[in-house]
């Protein structure tokens, strides 16, 4: 019997009971669809976290000091904490390529809070960041309108400011119209040099509500000359993050004469580590979802077995006739295997189509991102499900003795 004949016989077999075939197909379709969609959801949520972290800046090390009761920010820490306070000199040392060759850029950061006013409009800025121009590329903060301040602006303590999107909108209505205007931070006039590009707002603090000024200006006008809040360090490459972190630790430990017996007073947050951790979490999440989906695929497969068993029982007499007419064991086997495989392949195809449609929409706040391999896998598995779950009923059919099959009522 040629494959074409077997195929035709299988199709006729399926067509004999359309509703039953349809429901079985539905079972497999749900299984396959669930695998693809849930893997896409897991993948999508992983991507969302990754995007958020990448928006914070890649290859980024954030250095701050632990201990000292937190007073170090304003330079009011006790003597022991002051010993470990981060200084402008630290930042300069870190940017020395001979001392820290894997560090690409260093930006000292001081923070303050305050109220920005434009005439009668005032806006409480949640963070006034004083820093150097290196801060912007390192933290992946591009300027959308106008320009960034330069090293000269920092050196000459220019009263210039970059506004976050929200700050610019609150003060000027349209962010673009803010460039060239003047605002007051506290009592001091600042010229608006540029407006920062909008950033993903999902985080602890709204990055769009900040304003950035040259660190020298912030020290002179707002925060004083105390310790730095943190130093932002950009590693020379993705693979240099760990060595850069080691260099920074070593350099700071040496500069601040931290005793070897003491645990490091410097806290270095590594963006790659955070990324790795969250990717691991996302992978676990995806695996969990995929497991749930795989279970539904197995349930669908059992549906195929069930229906094929019913079909074989129902058509026992037909099998007997076919054997009497000279059908061989493998011909019968082939016919029922193809029926089962067709059921699950059609189910697989339907599941894929449904999954493609469904994953265009946000699910539980997550935009699913399809994993092409999961589609191939689901389709392959659905074919395998047909073969595997169909083989038992098919073997039962093929193994029937012709006389028993013919006598079956």
């Amino acid at each position: 019997m040629s494959p074409r004949d077997l195929f035709g016989a299988a199709l006729r077999g399926l067509g004999a009971n359309k509703l039953r075939s349809l429901l079985t197909v539905l079972g497999v379709a749900i299984g396959v669809g669930a695998v693809i969609v849930l893997v896409a959801v897991g993948n999508g949520s992983g991507k969302a976290v990754q995007d958020r972290l990448e928006a914070m800046g890649t290859n980024l090390l954030t250095v701050s000091t632990t201990g000292g009761g937190g007073g170090f920010v304003r330079g009011q820490a006790g003597p022991s904490a002051q010993q470990y306070s981060l200084t402008m000199a630290d930042a300069e040392a870190l940017s020395d390529h001979r001392l820290a060759p894997d560090v690409a850029a260093v930006a000292p950061v001081m923070t303050s809070s305050g109220t920005a006013t434009n005439g009668d409009t005032s806006y409480t800025v949640n963070q006034v960041i004083g820093t150097t121009p290196e801060y912007l590329p390192a933290t992946n903060t591009p300027v959308a309108n106008g320009r960034a301040f330069t090293k000269q602006d920092v050196d000459s303590t220019q009263r210039v400011v970059l506004l976050g999107q929200t700050a610019a909108t609150e003060l000027f209505g349209r962010p673009a119209s803010a460039v060239g205007q003047t605002i007051k931070l506290g009592a001091v006039d600042f010229a608006v040099l540029g407006v920062l590009a909008s950033k993903d707002t999902s985080g602890f603090s709204d990055p769009n509500a900040t304003v950035i000024v040259p660190i020298s200006t912030l020290r002179a006008t707002q925060a004083g000359y105390g310790a730095l809040s943190q130093i932002v360090v950009q590693a020379a490459g993705k693979d240099k993050v760990d060595t850069a972190q080691a260099e920074v630790t070593q350099l700071l430990t040496a500069r601040h004469q931290v005793p070897a017996t003491q645990s490091s007073p410097f806290r270095i947050t590594n963006s790659a580590q955070i990324l790795q951790t969250s990717q691991d979490t996302a992978a676990t999440f995806t695996a969990l979802l995929a497991t749930v989906a795989a279970i539904s695929l197995i349930v669908g497969g059992i549906g195929v077995t069930n229906i094929m068993l019913v079909t074989v029982t129902e058509r026992t007499r037909e099998i007997g006739i076919r054997k009497a007419l000279g059908a061989r064991r493998r011909t019968i086997l082939g016919q029922f295997l193809i029926e089962a495989t067709l059921l699950s392949l059609i189910g697989g195809a339907v599941g894929i189509i449904v999954a493609l449609v469904v994953s265009r929409f946000q699910l539980a706040g997550v935009q699913p991102v399809l994993v092409p391999s999961s589609i191939l896998l689901a389709f392959g598995v659905s074919a395998a499900v047909g073969l595997f779950f169909g083989s038992m009923p098919a073997h039962r059919a093929a193994g029937l003795r012709p006389i028993d099959a013919l006598r079956h009522e």
């Binding site: 004999a16 007499r317 037909e318 006739i321 054997k323 009497a324 006389i403």
Partner: protein
Amino acid sequence: MAADSLIDIRDVTKTYGAGETAVHALRGVSLRVDAGEYVAVMGSSGSGKSTLMNILGCLDVPSRGEYWLDGADVARLSEDQQALVRGRKIGFIFQSFNLIPRTSALANVELPLTYAHLKKADRRRRARRALELVGLSDRADHRPNELSGGQQQRVAIARALATGPRILLADEPTGNLDAHSTDEVLAMFDDLNSEGRTVVVITHETEVARRARRLIRVSDGRIVTDEVTG
């Protein structure tokens, strides 16, 4: 020897079950049928005639004894070879027609040709000719449930003939037919036999048995009479 006869059964017994509940369907049957014979096997129900037919048709195997079909020892054939024998050498006609439901008359007739690995065009041609032979060319596309009992049995005969088998094995072929259809079918058997085909009919109707040229009566698992009648 064995090669002389088309069918050569030697001291065949068939027992179903075992011990106290064992049923002895055949208790030692020997039978030879030569090519071109027209044999009727008669017996009441439970006489073992259906068991005999199943063994003759390679649908069942004897518990003991030998069955030589066309010079080959059936017991030594593999399952697939037995399937091949059923497909090529034997044409079955059943009391309940046993057509495949939801499948056209033509496709039903084609089925044994498909199992015999014939090419599509060849299959179609031979199936049409077989249907023509039983006078059902105009019903080729009808499904079994759209045909009368007599027509269904004629489709079954066409199917049995399609592969050009050496033996036509009919089990109560007229049991479900009215008088008119019975006549038609029996006339067809007469024709086929007169063309040289071996026909073995199993029946309990004397009217059917009378058409044959050799009558074998079976009772309680044994052959009681074996006589040439025609």
